[in-house]
Amino acid sequence: MRFMMLMLPGGYGDAAPDARPSAEAVEKMMQFNRSLQEAGVLLALDGLHPPASGARVTTVNGKVKVIDGPFAEAHEVIGGYWMIDVSSRDEAIAWASRCPLAPNETIEVRQVFEMADFPLDVQKAAEGFQDMQLSQAS
């Protein structure tokens, strides 16, 4: 089963738009990444620019509203993710527990939906969903 490990770095919400992790921090994380790869569980991983350079799109009274980052009201923001393929929720948690976390960092472990998790009517409504994901492939 697939799990997303979402990295929630404390204070990332206020980070400057051009904030970048240090080489030292990246090196440390790369060791963890390599251990995931060597164990054959890593499917994908990415890091995200700070929210300060992002935007939130929402609707207010049916009208689209765009809010530029940083977002004052956001407590936790995502800094990056790993997608892993493991045999249980416990294994996903055990992996997250091995991540070299800085004192203000949190990892949220969330299972990725499979089509089979949905009742048939939802599966029907989602027809073509995987096709959309595939269009990025070629």
Binding site: E38, E91, A116, S138
Partner: protein
């Protein structure tokens, strides 16, 4: 945490740590069987202590230390015995601390290489393919004997015995715990890849049992393939096998009806194919090309699978390219089954007549003598050429040869359809 939670956590830790643990220990004691026992002993200690003490901060290191201590005790005991036997008492003072330090240093360098050694040892050609598969799942996958037995649908004692014998054979034949070099490396790598693909195929097209597929075996094989690809990222055939498995596995959920009936490739709902696995497979193929390995047997098979993965519909399939890839595969891995597949691709690209000529050339091939797909393919081509009477007899022959009940039914239906087409013609 409740006791059950702790046990589940320990299971998860074991799953993550066991291969590295066994690999490190095997380098120290030079015996994978003994290494596994030591690792198991450490697990038993953890199961006793952790429910009381809680899970240690670094459970992997904890297990390694526990196992090391036992290993060192064992080695020292063995040495003492050897010394007694040899009655050589050159060193009256046995410097335990130094030796311990030396052994620990030895254990700490390069676990990655140890894992590779472990894979090569578990897949040593001195063992039967079945034994290699079971031992690999046990040592590298961290599966219990019971889990392996359930996956292969054989009784647990059979697997247990298979593993015990395999370990004994490795010890008796004094198989060195090392990564082979030079020409031998290529041969041995082929043996490793063969085992991983065997595990995958046992899951992908189960030869026995009620289920046509057992996806958990496919997942194990992909995990092993990814481990190997992480350890040997410059080996194009390792990437080729991984790409092949990932692209094939992308179809897992489209390959059966809700009742478990097989759905053949042309009839699958392609929107159910797994895009993440396809994407990874295609990316691996690009890397293989950069490494100059596009002509390896696994790379070619992966490229063929990718040919299907890229096509949104059967009609969009580039059959000419697939036929060319099969021709290349037949050159590096000559086999009548490859030739038969090439015939199918050629028939799709250039018409049934061209395909039939290739199939007819295989008629006397002894390896295909009892292979139901030969008459099945021939019947299909004949029926497309409106030669229904000949098609009927081919489908009947194919149905008689097919061992899978669902396939047999399908072929009988096609024979009947050909018979009625022959009558109305």
């Amino acid at each position: 945490m409740t006791a059950t939670d702790i046990h589940r956590t320990i299971d998860a830790v074991w799953r993550i740590e066991s291969a590295r643990l066994i690999a490190g220990l095997a380098r120290m004691v030079r015996d994978v069987g003994l290494a596994e026992e030591l690792a198991q002993d450490a697990l038993v200690v953890a199961l006793e202590r952790w429910p009381e003490s809680g899970i240690p901060d670094n459970p992997g290191a904890w297990l390694m230390t526990a196992a090391k201590h036992r290993a060192i005790d064992q080695l020292r005991r063995k040495k003492l015995i050897e010394r007694k036997h040899e009655t050589l008492a050159h060193e009256p003072e046995f410097e335990a601390t130094d030796e311990r330090r030396e052994l620990e240093a030895m254990l700490d360098d390069d676990i990655g290489d140890d894992l590779l050694r472990l894979i090569f040892t578990a897949c040593h050609p001195v063992l039967s393919a079945e034994a290699r598969a079971a031992l690999t799942l046990r040592l590298l996958g961290g599966l219990t004997t019971d889990e392996i037995a359930r996956a292969f649908l054989v009784p647990e004692p059979t697997i247990a015995q298979r593993i015990v014998r395999a370990k004994r054979t490795l010890a008796e034949k004094q198989i060195p715990f090392e990564v082979p070099r030079g020409e031998e490396r290529n041969e041995r790598l082929a043996s490793v890849l063969e085992v991983i693909y065997l595990i995958f195929n046992e899951g992908y097209a189960a030869t026995s049992g009620d289920d046509w597929m057992r996806p958990e075996l496919c997942n194990e094989a992909m995990r092993l393939g990814r481990i190997l690809a992480g350890l040997a990222p410059q080996e194009p055939e390792v990437l080729g096998l991984l790409a092949l498995m990932e692209i094939q596995a992308s179809r897992l959920r489209a390959r059966t009806t809700p009742d478990g009936e097989p759905i053949l490739l042309p009839d699958q709902d392609r929107s159910r194919w797994d895009p993440l696995l396809i994407r990874r497979g295609l990316a691996a193929l690009q890397r293989i090309e950069k490494l100059g390995g596009a002509n390896g047997p696994y790379a070619l098979q992966a490229a063929i699978a990718a040919g299907h993965a890229r096509a949104r519909t059967v009609e969009q399939t580039d059959w000419t390219r697939i036929a060319t890839l099969y021709a290349a595969l037949a050159r590096v891995m000559p086999s009548p089954v490859v030739e038969l597949n090439r015939a199918v691709a050629v028939a799709m690209a250039s018409g049934p007549e061209a395909g039939l000529a290739l199939v007819d050339a295989l008629a006397d091939e002894p390896l295909l003598h009892n292979y139901h797909l030969l008459p099945s393919v021939r019947g299909d081509l004949l029926s497309r050429l409106q030669r229904h009477d000949e098609a009927r007899s081919e489908f009947e022959r194919a149905a008689a040869l097919a061992r899978n009940v669902r396939e047999k039914n399908f072929l009988e239906r096609r024979a009947a359809a050909s018979a009625s087409a022959a009558h109305s013609a």
